[in-house]
Amino acid sequence: MSDTIILEVARFNPEDGGEPSYQSFEVPLRPDWMVLDGLNHIKDQLDGSLAFRWSCRMGICGSCGMMVNGVPTLTCETLLMNYAPGPVRVAPLDHFPVVKDLVVDLDDFLAKLQKVRPWVVRKDDFKPAREFMQSPAQLEAFHQFSLCINCTLCYAACPVSGLDPDFIGPAAIALAHRYNLDSRDQGIEDRLDIVSQHEGIWDCTVVGECSVVCPKHVDPSLAIQQFKLTATKEWFKSFLLPRGKH
């Protein structure tokens, strides 16, 4: 087995007027190296101008998502060995505008995150002197959806996000759902108004790929389908009991 591997890395620098292209680098293939270690080898030893984001290198900060051989991947927790003998193609995440090399523009994603009101909304003035009681079962009800690290792999995997840039998208809807399911929250109506729009849950056609690529097993697809059910129930309720709004 060869002790090196070829990384074909997407390059794009808006300042040199060039079009996006791929550049090949030969990097050591070590058994405990992740794809990110390969990229860092390039940056440290071969070409310091390569731009990419990374930070925690332990799969929790969500910075280093990229397309690896066409699949949205967290590069800090994916072994280079998995792609031997190579070559491995590393590109910026699909469905996002590219700023430079492997860096994509996330402003739109952050705006969507804020739009779904991801915080505890209280309609009453109840301010308990101690904690809200929450049973382990109530915690379990939303816990999975609170594990999203905002790596945006799900957006890169979702063809709807690519076709309709206005789609609020998997991670943001999953986050809205996380607060809806939290026993401490009373903001479901506010979020329904925002998320049960066409660009919200109804844009999702259940491709399911978001849940496949999610490195934290959040299952955003599940969140969206459950949200659809909630929205439908609420719609029927408001239709049948117009004054029944609480």
């Binding site: 794009f12 808006p14 300042e15 007027g17 079009e19 996006p20 066409g70 699949v71 699909d94 469905h95 505008p97 590219v98 700023v99 523009d105 382990p136 079962a137 379990e140 009800a141 063809p159 690519g162 076709l163 056609t205 259940v206 491709v207 399911g208 790929e209 496949v212 697809s221 599940l222 389908q225 459950q226 659809k228 059910l229």
Partner: protein
């Protein structure tokens, strides 16, 4: 592409290919599942035609039967059936994606959520089969 001006980001916005659904198996399976609706509609129309023939007279129904026995129609219907099954199975399997996540604070195995659909399906199939074979 526009020219770069200093301090003004000039982002590259890749366009999705018109053939994006061929990009990977999951997308392709999705595209097939979506197109299965066409065959579901086809079956509905076919059933209506069959009912209309049945309601007109025996000759007309015999002609319908002869038409259905044509090898080309058998192939078409076999393909339609395959898509119909794909349609039914994918949607049945999606049930656990929307409901019955938890029974008694433990996550419900997917199979338990999907099972009622399959049970109803097989039950209905058996009753129909009994009808057709004349047992009922």
């Amino acid at each position: 592409m526009p020219q770069y001006t200093q301090y003004q980001p000039k982002e590259h916005r890749p366009k999705m290919s018109a053939y994006w659904y061929l990009d990977n198996w999951h997308y392709l399976r999705y595209a097939l599942r979506e197109s299965s609706s066409f065959f579901v509609a086809y079956f509905c129309v076919l059933t209506l035609v069959q009912l209309a023939a049945l309601g007109t007279n025996a000759t007309r129904y015999a002609r319908f039967e002869a038409f259905m026995a044509h090898p080309a129609m058998i192939i078409v219907n076999a393909i339609a059936l395959a898509f119909f099954l794909l349609h039914a199975i994918t949607w049945f399997n999606l049930v656990p994606r929307v409901m019955m996540r938890q029974i008694l604070a433990r996550p419900t195995p997917d199979i338990i959520s999907s099972a009622p659909n399959y049970l109803v399906w097989f039950g209905a199939t058996i009753i129909l089969a009994l009808f057709i074979t004349g047992v009922l």
